[in-house]
Structures are given as structure tokens and as C-alpha cells.
């Protein structure tokens, strides 16, 4: 055999240096007017939809086996934002989810816990309390999630409320109406205002801000790239694909474009932003495809829960089933993982 297949240069994607602690602002002038911001966003290189799909299709053929699969499953579990966003959510449901987040597989103590539990803002306090001492973050959706159709005052109050309830992370939605109407600066300023509202009372820093682009409503990949840059320039810590309430939610080409945006943004500013695909990722295979895509397009710097998350609910159970299968050699059934 000609030796194990290997990547030519494992450092190819990370040679550009470490992220800087504070964002540089080489682009501070692009938001000086609506016209300038529009010219900047429309001046970003275009995205060819066919080419982006072709790339994700090839990456989708990667065959991840044995030790690589085991690593990928555990990494994916550690990246899950375990989510419940239903009108019927109750404190009991949130506490049960928190218990699962802490110990996803009660029969196997080696199974990692998830990254965060994601709930509506009014339940952030319940989640925070249930997760106390675990290191697992409480994430809360805000800004009139999922449509974002409310006045800015209402949206900001929503954010402050969730932060006061103990949310470590805020998942906001952008104003897609304003974006599609070309009022980019409005969208930008709203994100900046939300980021300010993420400040914790008593000067204890800020909740991390994830900016949901709702790519299913932006439709084109050119729009996805523009919205990604907009959100990063406004100070978003993460860019997130979807609310999960609109179809299509996360797709591989959309995630690819967002990954390339965070990569280019870091190259340009030295500031690293995370990516969170959410909605529609239900199987281990889907999750592994995302990890492969990170690995081969932006590199290992994003292969951690600090920089990549899966917004999901049913995904976790499939990851657990596949994990059990790897460990025991056979498939168990849905009764061997806990219901949510």
C-alpha cells in the first residue's frame, strides 16, 4: 500500500495566525452611510450557487470511519445547542432538557455534555438554574423571535429580559424585511443596539450574541454572504443560519458560504466569529458532513464548541444511537435513548 491517505498540509488553513482578542476595524468607514454600506456589501465577491453545491456534494462523499467517526460524534455532541422552542414549553420540559444536556447518555459517563440549552427568553431563568455548575450555557432566543416583527424597543426589552434571566447567549433574529428592502444600515444598527442590550446588569460583561440570518428567507447565497458580513461588522459573536421555523433551514451550501465569510473576516480583521447552522440537521451523517466541511474549508480553528454549534433537538438522539453502535457493534433502538 502506498501509505495512508493524508492531507498534504495540515496547517494550510491555520497559517494565518491566531485571532486577536479585540476586533480591528479596517471597515469602520463602510457603515458611514446607507450608500457606502450598500456599495461595500454589493462589492463582495459573488457566490456561484452551482459551484457551491458542487463543492458540498464532493465534501459530502467523505467517508468517515472508526476512530474518525468516534471523534466526530463526540465533537458533534459537544457542539449541540439542545433546543426547545415551542409554545407548549414548560419549566418541567426545560428542566428535563437540562438534565439530558448535562448527561446525554445516562448509561455512559464518557459521553460529553452538550454546549448549551436554547430556550425562549421567559424560560432562561429556569434553564440557568437547572444548569448551574455544569458549565453548560443557557442560550435564549430574543428580538421577537422568530419573525422579528416588532418595534426595536420591544426587541431590546426582550433581550434585556432574557439577559436578566441569566442567559449566557442571546440568539437574535435580523430584520429580514429591512434587509430585503435594502435598508442594510437599519439592520446593522439594530444588531449593534442588541449587542449593547446584551450587557449584563452590574457590569459583568456581555452575553454572547448569535445573529440569526434566517437564510431560508434571504434565499440567495449572495444575500447570505452579505448578511454574514453585515452581522460580523455589527459585532455578532456567532452567525447562525436559521430559526428552525422556516424551511429550508440550514443547508450545506449556506453553511459553506457562512464559513468562508468568517474565514475571510478573520483574514481581514483578525477577529474570529463562530458559525451555527440550525434546523434541519437531524442525523449523525448530516452533522459529520458539517464537521468535514469545517475541517476542509476553514480548518481546525473552528472545530470546537467555542466556534461552531449545531442548533438542534432530534440530532442529539441520533448521535447517541450512533455512539452506542460504535461502542457495542450493534444498533439499539429509540427506547435506548431518552425522549425529550
Amino acid at each position: 500500500m502506498p501509505g495512508m491517505t493524508h492531507v498534504l498540509d495540515p496547517d494550510a488553513l491555520s497559517r494565518e495566525g491566531r485571532p486577536l482578542p479585540e476586533p480591528l476595524e479596517p471597515f469602520s468607514d463602510v457603515t458611514r452611510s446607507d450608500a457606502a454600506f450598500r456599495a461595500f456589501l454589493h462589492g463582495l465577491p459573488g457566490v456561484d450557487q452551482v459551484g457551491a453545491e458542487a463543492r458540498t456534494n464532493v465534501l459530502g462523499t467523505r467517508s468517515i470511519k472508526t476512530t474518525a467517526k468516534a471523534w466526530a460524534i463526540d465533537t458533534a455532541i459537544s457542539m449541540v445547542d439542545l433546543t426547545t422552542l415551542e409554545g407548549s414549553d414548560t419549566p418541567g420540559k426545560v428542566r428535563s432538557l437540562a438534565a439530558k444536556a448535562r448527561r446525554p447518555d445516562p448509561e455512559d459517563l464518557t459521553c460529553p455534555s452538550v454546549a448549551a440549552v436554547c430556550v425562549y427568553g421567559d424560560l432562561a431563568g429556569v434553564a440557568k438554574e437547572a444548569l448551574a455548575g455544569t458549565g453548560i450555557h443557557t442560550a435564549a432566543v430574543a428580538t421577537a423571535f422568530p419573525s422579528g416583527r416588532a418595534s426595536r424597543a420591544v426587541k431590546l426589552a426582550d433581550v434585556r429580559d432574557a439577559v436578566a434571566g441569566g442567559a449566557d447567549e442571546i440568539d437574535m433574529v435580523i430584520d429580514r424585511g429591512a434587509f430585503l428592502a435594502g435598508r442594510y444600515l437599519d439592520v446593522f444598527e439594530e444588531i449593534v443596539a442588541v449587542k449593547e442590550a446584551c450587557r449584563r446588569p452590574g457590569g459583568q460583561g456581555r452575553a454572547h450574541l448569535k445573529v440569526i440570518l434566517e437564510t431560508g428567507e434571504l434565499v440567495t447565497l449572495d444575500n447570505v454572504r452579505r448578511a454574514s458580513w453585515l452581522a460580523m461588522l455589527a459585532g455578532g459573536n456567532f452567525i447562525k443560519t436559521s430559526t428552525g421555523k422556516i424551511s429550508p433551514a440550514a443547508t450545506l451550501p449556506v453553511c459553506l458560504v457562512m464559513l468562508k465569510a468568517v474565514r475571510d473576516f478573520r483574514t481581514a480583521t483578525g477577529h474570529q466569529v463562530g458559525v451555527k447552522p440550525a434546523g434541519g440537521i437531524r442525523t449523525t451523517k448530516d452533522a459529520v458532513k458539517h464537521l468535514v466541511m469545517i475541517n476542509e474549508t476553514v480548518g481546525a480553528d473552528w472545530l470546537s464548541p467555542d466556534w461552531f454549534r449545531f442548533g438542534a433537538s432530534s440530532l442529539l438522539n441520533d448521535l447517541l444511537l450512533q455512539r452506542q453502535k460504535l461502542r457495542t457493534g450493534h444498533y439499539s433502538g429509540p427506547d435506548h435513548v431518552s425522549v425529550d
Binding site: M1, P2, G3, M4, T5, H6, V7, L8, D9, P10, D11, A12, L13, R15, P45, G46, V47, D48, V50, G51, A52, A54, R55, V58, T61, R62, S63, I64, K65, T66, T67, A68, K69, W71, A72, T75, K260, L291, V292, N295, E296, T297, A300, L303
Partner: protein
Amino acid sequence: MTSLFEYAPALESRSIVDLRPSYGLFIDGEFTEGTGTPLKTLNPATEEVLAEVATGSDADVDRAVHAARRAFTRVWGPMRPADRGKYLFRIARLLQERAREFAVLESLDNGKPIRESRDVDVPLAAAHFFYHAGWADKLEHAGLGPAPRPLGVAGQVIPWNFPLMMLAWKIAPALATGNTVVLKPAETTPLTALLFAEVCQQADLPPGVVNIVTGAGETGRAVVAHPDVDKVAFTGSTEVGQSIARAVAGTGKRLTLELGGKAANIVFDDAPVDQAVEGIVRGIFFNQGHVCCAGSRLLVQESVHDEVVASLQRRIGTLRVGDPLDKNTDLGAINSAEQLARIRALSDVGEAEGAQRWQPEGDLPTRGYWFKPTVFTDVSPAHRIARDEVFGPVLSVLTFRTPDEAVAKANNTSYGLSAGVWSEKGSRILAITNKLRAGVVWANTFNEFDPTSPFGGYKQSGYGREGGRQGLAAYLRSATS
């Protein structure tokens, strides 16, 4: 440093292939001994001998041509066109059924990654049979007059870069139009053609319709020179193509040649950069650059040169090299020691002439024939690496300032097989593609193939088209010709 997410080996099993120690010639529906000195075919990734393969002598070629003639006059020529179509459909389905076997064998014998043989070569080979099967009973609609007739016996010589796919490009149109064939596979990659011979038996194809005579250059010469061959089709180097054209001149044989190339891949400053970089990689590193239509000359607008080259180099570092049978391999082995020597020699010339050679970090396997993906910058149109076909994973980067300069540089080659244009501006793409003297022009993609699309060259890239309605003309005589 090892990467955080290291892929475990994911080897496609060799056991699906029943490799025999030696193979004969396929003449008149049966495997027979060859009378020449047998050849050994190697796995270029390991230099291990895979099998011994017969060499067809002049006498063997003569037997094959006689068998083809007999089959043409007695069976295949007179057969109802719809029935010929049924055989082709059957062959296409068998290729699909045995796809994994063909893919593994192709990767073993050629050195190309299983991902490509599995996802490109074999599916396209089957697609060519399906496409031409449909034509078999519709030839009066091919635009060649009311009742086009077959030519007779086609002598076909194919290269080692896409052994099965090139076989399909040759045999499918010949059979669909009612001709019979004698095909000579390349010396270094005969095995999938011999497996195809088994498929012909399995499909109950009448004896003599397809004959496969293995061997080296001498055998090919005998096929081309045989007086009872009506049509010669060759894919390979320009040098050999020229000698075939000389041999065929004045004989009345019809000839199509698909030869070398030095394609320009033109990237404008308004291109979708990420996808263009993917297209550049696909253009030159697909099949280790052993592609006649490879995008071996990157013409990039000067204003985005640095950005594109940096992005390209970063991307090249992520390519996975190694065992062709590993499903995650992107770059396989160079097909032969001879080809490796040629790639090395031309790359050395590039450096000697003053171009900057760049190769990624990382090691190559120690056994077998390997060459690192290579990018030359500061290349001038006068450099040999900008003019000669390397037929390997070597890219020459040139720059241009205006669209007119891009067209002038793109056309400044003795070849004219393919070209690519990258721009988000539709009007520019249409304007530029019309000015490029190349048989195939891709816009915002590269190295895409489809049986419905005619393929062939200008100038020293040859003449005639393969695929599409146009490709049928090479195998038919219209009422007036």
C-alpha cells in the same frame, strides 16, 4: 503537526475484482492468446505487477479486423437498428451493475482516486452507452440526410488517462451507428477494457462486433494501418496523432483525432472567487492533471492575482494524497514512470526559465509514482510550461489586464481543445466565449462532461467531435458523402 480531525483509512475493497494472472486478446467474441511478447501492467501507486497482458501482433490485428468485418457484413450491419439499441442499453445497464468492480479496477490500473473512478469515469461511461443506445434507431434525425449508413470497421486507439471512459466514447457511437470495432487500449491501462470484453460476452453481443487487442505502440500502428479498416479514431498525444494522420493520408479512411491541449482558464476580477478557486483545482488537479482538456494555464486578472493565488495555495494544501483506493483520496498516483519523468523534466525547465515553482508542504508516498501539485507563478507566455502540454498536476499562472489581452493570451497556443471563463457578468461571458478558439468552453465551471455535449478541438488538438449529435457524423456516411 497532525490535524485535529484525522480521517481514518476508508479503503474500497479490492476483493470485488477478480484479477487474473494473465489476459489474452478479445477477438471474435472469445479470449485468445496473443502472439506478441506479453506486457506487464502495474499498479502505479505501488509498482506492484497486476497482471500479464497479451500483445497483439500484426497477425492478431488482422484476425481481429477480419472478425469485425465478418460481424459487420453478416450481423451488425444488417441488424434492425432498434435491436442494436437493445444491445447498447444492455451494456449500459451491465456497466452500472458492475460499476464498483470497474471503478476499483480502474483505480488499481490507472492510479486515479476511487472517488473519481466511482463518481466520474464509470457513470459517464455508462451514460455514453445509454445516450447512444437511444440514437441507434433515430439516425435519420441526426441531420445527416434521410438514411445515413455506417462506415464499416472502426480501428480505435485510446489513451491511459480515462481508460474505460475513452473506450465508451469510442465504442458507443461506433456501435450505435452500425459499425464494428477493433479497439487498442493503452499499454499501461488495459484491464478495464478486458473487463468490458467480459461485459460484451455477458450481454450476448454477437462475436466480432467488439474486438479488443492489447499491446503497445506497434499494435496501435497495425490497427491504424490495416487496409480493411474504414475509419480510424484516436485519442492521445499530438505527436502520435500527427503520425497517424500521415499514415492514413490517401487511404480513403475516415479519421478523427482528439489530441493534446493547453487550456486557458480565465478568471476575471468579478469572478465568484471561492468557486473559481475550486474550478482551478478541478481544472488542473482532476485525474492528477492527466486530462487533455486540463485548465493548465490560469489566466488571472492582475488586480486579483495575489488574492486568487493565495487562496489557491491554501486550498491545495488541503488536498488529500495517497492510496487511490481510499475513498477520501483527492490526488492519486501518476500513471507511469515515463509520465512522471516527463512531468519532472518540464517542471525543471519551468524553473530554469525563471518561473517561480510552488508546492505545498507535506510528504508523498515513498513507493509508486507521485508528483506534488505544483503552481508556477511569474510565467510568461514564452515559457515552455506555458506552451507545452505537461499532462500532470502542474499549473502555470499568467496575468492579463483587459478582456482583449485575456483573449489574445488564451488563443496564443498551438492547441485549442478547451477553455474556461469565470465571471459573474453574463454579457462578458458571452462576449469572451465567442472569441475563444477552443472546442469546449466552460463558463463558471470546468471539466464537466456529458454525452449530449460534443467534445473535440481546434488546431493541433485534433479534429472531429465526440458526443452529441455532432459526434455521430464521425461514424456515418450520408447519402451524399
